[in-house]
């Protein structure tokens, strides 16, 4: 998600203070309602993801209706399902391919902690591979839980410091 050149120019002329804060608020408001998500679905949690994303629970109500199947077009990585040791480098690569700003949701107990798969083959929590913003527990989580996690993510995005000056040399 980009910022228009006009908005950048305007913002550059503002000094730190009231206007900057207001601008960041506006940016956060825009970002929280325009999440393009990339579903990294590996297991049964995918069923609950489908349920959440489709008409019954309708993730589109929260501005995340556009599913992107390329990490380059996404800013929200939904890690849905068990991540094995063999898959971990792939997940890392997908995360690295996403453009800033980006957020990660660990969807389901397996991604949060490895879940029932306390064994040699499974990553015990994806936060050992990539940073995670919101953890949604459940095996699998009900769609209501997912929506609750999603609202928490939106609140986090709204309140966080908005980075928008990448590449600025000063």
């Amino acid at each position: 998600m980009g910022v228009s050149p006009g908005a950048k120019r305007t913002a550059r002329h503002m000094s730190e203070g009231y206007l900057t804060t207001k601008f960041e608020n506006a940016l956060g408001w825009a970002r929280e309602f325009s999440l393009f998500h990339y579903p990294f679905v590996t297991a049964c949690c995918g069923m609950e993801y489908m349920s959440t994303a489709c008409a019954h629970f309708d993730l589109d109500r929260f501005g995340a209706g556009l599913t992107r199947f390329s990490p380059r077009q996404a800013d929200l990585l939904l890690v849905v399902g068990t991540i094995t040791m063999k898959l971990a480098p792939v997940l890392k690569t997908v995360y690295d391919q996403m453009a800033e700003p980006k957020w990660v949701v660990a969807f389901g107990t397996c991604t949060v902690s490895g879940g029932i798969y306390d064994n040699y083959a499974v990553v015990q929590g994806i936060d050992s591979v990539i940073p995670v913003d919101v953890y949604i527990p459940g095996c699998p989580p009900r769609p209501e839980t997912v929506l609750d996690g999603f609202l928490k993510l939106q609140e986090k995005i709204r309140r966080q410091k908005q980075e928008w000056r990448w590449g600025r040399k000063d």
């Binding site: 040791m85 063999k86 971990a88 480098p89 890392k92 306390d118 064994n119 040699y120 083959a121 990553v123 015990q124 050992s128 591979v129």
Partner: protein, 161 residues
């Protein structure tokens, strides 16, 4: 061929190699000596047994109770609808056995899986390497002496994951 006749045939044909022959309902269980594997499996595939389909091939770690690994081959006869389990007991240290990949093509990957999980070496296998675990994984995770909570961080491009 009736079940009694089949057991007779087993005993007649493989008398030297058979350790034990028994029945489990409709199925047969044959325990043979490791050296006889290729000969027995080759004959089971042909007339009069016709166990042409290798359903599965796996291994059990019996080292604590019987100080041996046990290879188990599940065969199915499309002609008679019967199954047979062929078992082979292998020594606990440096277990190895002839590969049946020459008899059944699907044994290729099944034997690689057994090698990956139990470390059984298949002599004559065309491409014996790990199939499920990643390169650099140490040990054989389904052996009973593999520590339950041992974790091996995966190194990828210099970064430990």
């Amino acid at each position: 061929m009736g079940p009694e006749r089949l057991i007779e045939e087993f005993e007649k044909g493989f008398s030297g190699e058979t350790v034990e022959a028994s029945r489990d309902g409709k199925d047969f269980i044959l325990v043979i000596r490791p050296e006889a594997l290729l000969r027995v499996m080759g004959s089971l595939k042909e007339d009069p047994f016709f166990y042409r389909l290798l359903l599965d091939l796996t291994c059990v770690d019996f080292r604590r109770d019987a100080s041996s690994f046990e290879m188990v081959y599940h065969l199915f006869s499309l002609e008679t609808g019967r199954r047979i389990r062929v078992k082979v007991r292998l020594p606990a240290d440096a277990p190895s056995i002839d590969s049946v990949a020459g008899l059944w093509r699907n044994a290729n990957w099944l034997e690689r899986e057994v090698y990956d999980m139990f470390g059984i070496v298949f002599i004559g296998h065309p491409d014996l390497k790990r199939i499920l675990m990643y390169d650099g994984f140490e040990g054989f995770p389904l052996r009973k002496d593999y520590p339950l909570r041992r974790r091996q961080p995966k190194a990828d491009k210099g970064n430990a994951i």
